[in-house]
Structures are given as C-alpha cells and as structure tokens.
Symmetry: C2
Subunit: 432 residues, 2 copies
Amino acid sequence: LEQGSMRHGQRMINSMHPAEIARLIESLPPAKREIIWEFVEPELEGDVLVELNEEVRSELISGMDAEELIAATEDLEVDDLADLIGDLPETLIERVLQSMDAQDRERLSSILAFEADSAGGLMNLDAVTVRPDVTIEVVLRYLRMRGELPDRTDRLFVVNRHDKYLGGIDITTLLTEDPESTVAELMDSAVEGISPQTPAPEVAKLFENHDLVSAAVVSPEGRLLGRITIDDVVDVIREEAERSVMSMAGLDEEDDMFAGVVTSARRRAIWISANLATAFLAANVVGMFEATIEKVVALAVLMPIVASMGGIAGSQTLILIIRGLVLGQIEQSNARWLLWREIAVGLLNGLVVAGVVGTAAGLWFRAWALGVIVFAALMINLLAAAIAGVGVPLVLKRLGIDPALAGGVTLTTITDVIGFASLLGLGTLFLL
Amino acid sequence: LEQGSMRHGQRMINSMHPAEIARLIESLPPAKREIIWEFVEPELEGDVLVELNEEVRSELISGMDAEELIAATEDLEVDDLADLIGDLPETLIERVLQSMDAQDRERLSSILAFEADSAGGLMNLDAVTVRPDVTIEVVLRYLRMRGELPDRTDRLFVVNRHDKYLGGIDITTLLTEDPESTVAELMDSAVEGISPQTPAPEVAKLFENHDLVSAAVVSPEGRLLGRITIDDVVDVIREEAERSVMSMAGLDEEDDMFAGVVTSARRRAIWISANLATAFLAANVVGMFEATIEKVVALAVLMPIVASMGGIAGSQTLILIIRGLVLGQIEQSNARWLLWREIAVGLLNGLVVAGVVGTAAGLWFRAWALGVIVFAALMINLLAAAIAGVGVPLVLKRLGIDPALAGGVTLTTITDVIGFASLLGLGTLFLL
C-alpha cells in the first residue's frame, strides 16, 4: 500500500510542468524536498533545476553525484545551460563542456560572454532564419523538411549570406499571403534588433510596449545573434517586481524561504544593523534634549506621533517617485513640478493632521502651548517628508544606489531626526 | 519654424506604439497632456485610451466631444472596447452600441458579463477555430482564403459542431507535419480550457508555468468562449506587482501621478488617518508611564530604538510571508514550520541587537540595570515581531483583507505598542 501511494505521488509530480515542480519544491522544508526530488524523472531534473531559485538549486546540486548532473544537463537548451552552469562544481563544468559538440560549446560561450541580466544573457540560439530572396513557397517547403520548430516561434528572422539581420516575417504571414511572393516583399523590416548589451528591464519594456512574442538580438555590426522569447521576459518582469518588494526590507528574492536559522539570521543582520545605526542617530537627537523631557514629559509621549506621521506621509511620496523612476516617467523636467505638488499635498494634509494632533495634545495635557508646538513640529516634519520623499530617491539614483533598497531607511531616518528635533527643539525654546 | 517643429513632434508621436504614447502622456503635467493629445491621430486615439491609467483616461475622455469619441472607439477590438466602455458618458454608450452590428454587440455583452479581472474579462473573441475531422491541407487552404490572422495567433482551437472545445493545434504544427494528417491526429487535447471565472492572477500563473502564448477560455458546459493572449497577461502581472508595492503605502496604482493637490491630499488622508489612529494608540501606551519617564529620562531616549528595531525585523518576516502567500507557497502545513524558524531567527538576531543596544545604553547612561532592561525589552519585541510577522498576514488573509495593504500598519502598531510597553513596563518595575 505504502509503495502504491508512493508510485501515485511520483506519477502526479512527473505530470507537472517543471516550473510547477520547482515552486512545489521551494515551498517545502529542506527535509521533504529530498523526497520529492527523488521522485522527479531524470529527464525533467535539468528543467526543474533551471526554474528553481538559486539557493534551493545549489542545495539540490550539492546532493547529486557527477553522473546524475551530467545526465540532467545533457538535454537542456543552451541558454538554460548557461543559467545553470555557474552553479555546477568546477570539475563538472569541464566534463559538461567536453560532452558537448563544438558548435554548442561555441554557442554556450557566446551566451556566457554577456551579463545574465542583459539581452545577450536572455537570448536563445534557436532562431530560425530565411533569406530575403526566396519565395514563401520555398520557405514552406523548407520548414516542412526541417520538421519541428522551436517553442514560441512566431516569426522567422530574415538574414543575408553574412548573417546580417534584415527583419522578420510572421509565421501567420506565411499561411495567409500569396506563396509566390518573396520574403523580402512581406517581411517586416521596421522592427529593429535588440542590442545584446540592453539591460533586461529595457528588454521587458520593449516587449510590453510592442506586444512582442519574440525578438531578434543583433550585434552592433548588425549580425543576428539569437532571439528572446516572451516566456523569459515574463520571468524578468516577475523577478524585477519581486526584487523591488523584497529589497524594501533588505531581502533578496533569490533567497530560500526555508533557509536555515543561522543562514537567515546572518543575512538579515546586515539590514538590521544598518537600521540600528540610524536608530541610534535618532536616539542621539532625543538624548540632546534630556533636560527638556525631564521637565515636560508630555513631549516624550507625543514624540512617536510626530516622527511616525512624517515617516508615513514621506513613504507615500517615496513610493510614488520610485515607481515613476522605474517606469521612466520621471525626469529633471517634471521632478520640480512633482516636488511642488508633493510639498503642497504635504502641507495640506499637514494642516489636518497637525490640527488634530495639536488639539488632542492640548486637551490631553491641558496645555495649549504644547498643542501649538506639536502643531508646528508636525508641519515642519510633513514638509521635510515631502521634500525627502521626492529628493531621496532622485539622489540615490544619481549615486547609483537602488532607491527601493535604501530609500525607506534614508527617508525614515530623516523624518525621525527632524520630527524629534523639531518637537523637542521647539519645546526647549518655548516651554521651559 | 514653429509650425515646422510642431509637425515634426506630431510625426514623432504618431510613429510611437499606443502603449508608449500612453506612458508619455501619463508622465506629463495635465496642461502639457492636452497638447500631446491634440497631436495623436484619430485612428490611434482609441488604442491610446485603452493603454492609459483609469484616471488620466477619464480626464481625456471628458475633454472629447461625442463625434471624436465615437470615431476613437469605432476601430477598437471588442475586448478593448469592453475595458473602455465603463468610462464613457451614459448617453454615448447608447450611441456606440447602436453603431455596432448585432454580432459585435452580443460579443461585447458576453465579455461585460464577466469581472474585468477574471479570465472572462481578459479574453478576446478572435479565436480562430477548426474542426477535428479535417486534414491539415484543408486547414491550410482555409487559412489562405481567410486572410490575415489575429495578432498573437500561435494556435488554432479545435471545436466540434456545437462549439465544444476539444483542444488546440499549434500553427507551427501545421507547417511541419504531414498535410494528409487530420487535425484530430495532431491536436493537443491535454491543454484544458480556462474557466471564465478564473481570477486574473491565477491565469497569469498558468501562463507562467506552462509558458503559454495564448489559451482557450471555456464555459462550464465546455463551449469555447474566447482566448486569452500573453500581452494581456503581461499587463496583469505588471499591474499586480505595482498594486502590491503601491498598496503598502495605501496608494492605488490607477491613480494619476500628476493628480491635483486637493485630489491627492484627499486620497492620502485616509491612509494617514488610519496610521494616525495607531500612532495615538502607541502614544497612549507611553502616556501610561509618564511618571517613570520623568524619573528615568534615558528610557525616553531608548524608546524609539526598541520600537523601530521590532518594526524593521518584523517587516522582513512580513514581506517574506506575504510573498509566499502570493506565490501560493504557504499553507497551514508549512506555516507552523516557518513560525518556529522566524522565532529562532528573531531570537538569534535579538541576542546580537539587544546585546549591542543594551551594552551601548549601559555605557551611555552609566547604568547597567538600564542596559539589562533594554536588552530584555528588545528580546521581547523581536520575539513579538517574529510572531506578528508570520501571524498578521495569515490572519488578514483569512479575514479577506489584503495583507500588502494592511500588514505593515498592523505590524508596526504591534511592535510599537509592545516595544514601548516592555521597555517602560520593565523600567517601572525595576528602576523606580
């Protein structure tokens, strides 16, 4: 019976798509992963490894012996192998390379020459090409002779004798246009090839704006190098989105959700330490006003409100600006417009928030002077929040630092410091 | 000269793809949008409107007269018209419907019957269908007679006489397999149709896991209703990603980045008010310990550190869990495992953070008892942060509230309250 249900599980797993198996494995604690991994058929193993996140992948690879690994990588497409090869043990890379034929080895090295997150790193080498001077009929005969086309082939690429890229011709065009026409007459030469150095997010934007399924990658000299297909672009979009959310908390989207306690703790410690340093900075500002707090304890009670309201309002502006930067919608010319708009919004909402908190503070502590001071401190902090919300991401971007990663910490440090300093400073001036 | 450069600008804009024109218009302040919009050729206007975010779209629509709007919507595909029609003035909807032929009107209402963010709302009605019993040769002749195929047609759908969905056949199969074979012999019947009620994110996962370019939407009775294409799925993925980032700051991804000051201020006020309420809650906790702070002012200085460290550590756990929920990788069975892991990570990092802060506090204020109390308060708060980081999103999800929207506020309220209460509570017990 036990063996029967094992066999059932095995069948179920192997009927899944490699990407689905990968998501399933990632969602299991390490011990159970081994069991599932044992179930996966050898011919699927390579594709599952490609789909796994980096950390889980290396974990599984380290548990496989050389023969298994060679078998798993054997049937992979060259572009998938390029993604995987960096995670293989040194000695094995040598053997994998030797087991490939000369052409594939050359192809592999041509992909590895580009950054993984560039058009060159994303491309497949399975573009089907035709010459411009042949007729559709000849193309149709050639395709039938050639047999099965690569997945997601929606267009053939037109090249001349020297592999120079001339344009593309849709498969559907072959089916609906006059077979006597030549490729040159029907091809679409308006679609420019993508340079292999183009960063992956730019490639994604191109695909999105032009609703592409595949596109040519073309060298600066105009030679067709390969093609990028929408499935890899979808992965780029998904990863980019995940990275921006995860990096807001100093996390890496390639990290294993089920990583061990020590590994996780060590990783997060960096982020926590960075935030600890800024927390000390803010605490230090409070420390400067100890004498004031001792006399007007109410200030210590109101302190967190002033600081956190600045952080909340500032984060709204920050996220709006970061998104605008990602979409390429913010530039010098409209940044100033946005700054004034955010300042106006900040002051308007400031009037309401500061009014409520000021009145509440006045009533709570039966001290109207305190209410006025809280009002003023909140107005100052919401103004600072608007300016920092626009300025911080722009400055970080210019410094080459990812605003999604460092923007939040920088902003809340500013709003904490200014919030504490304005409330306690005004308190020192007018309440003592 | 002025007119010459105007004409140049006009040519440039109309050479862009509708999606690119839409992004450009969104990135401009309202006044400049009008100028660009005037430049856009009438035949592009409809497609640009479809690509714009809701707010900018209604703004432009309100500036167009009835004739312009009718002209703009005339050439739209039915599924795009379905997205747009809700934003048209009532009186105009009537006229648009009248200008359509009976078949298109029926199609439109069949799409409008489904939620916009479901498979039914995403589908196009341009699926090309064939019968199972015909040969490839017949299909090829039919296609050539039919002429141009809809964009992103990578497969034809196989239906019987009663429109019952039987499977799909790849266009590339038509080109490479024996023309004498029948459709039934070569079709892929393993690919199930998508139910029209399937939520858009589920559709996106299907496309991602199976690397699809198009897929059939099939009614519960098995009738082919339409097809979904990858370009619409890419938009779903992008919007979903944007929504989750924006909602963390209580923002809506459909809002106009350049909305007026009053509109923006009013929108953000809701989020700020919710946070203000929680800030008062935290302040109230501090208020309960006024007498303690008056005697040991150092506690007021250290308060923000204890609270913010809990918030930072908790946010890391929170974002990890929210991502796991979105990916469908967290369930009852592994949630408990994750909770213990997060508690262990929290306590491990707690030892370091609490050690550093406790020692620093002891040195700073030359009071070792204070150092020990800060140490203990931080340990308590990091433990609470781990539990809340796992528990809050799970509870919110069960309550039907989006964890990305409400998770952050709820978590930091908990870590603020517990941070303040533990530090000041312990201070009251042991330092007075």
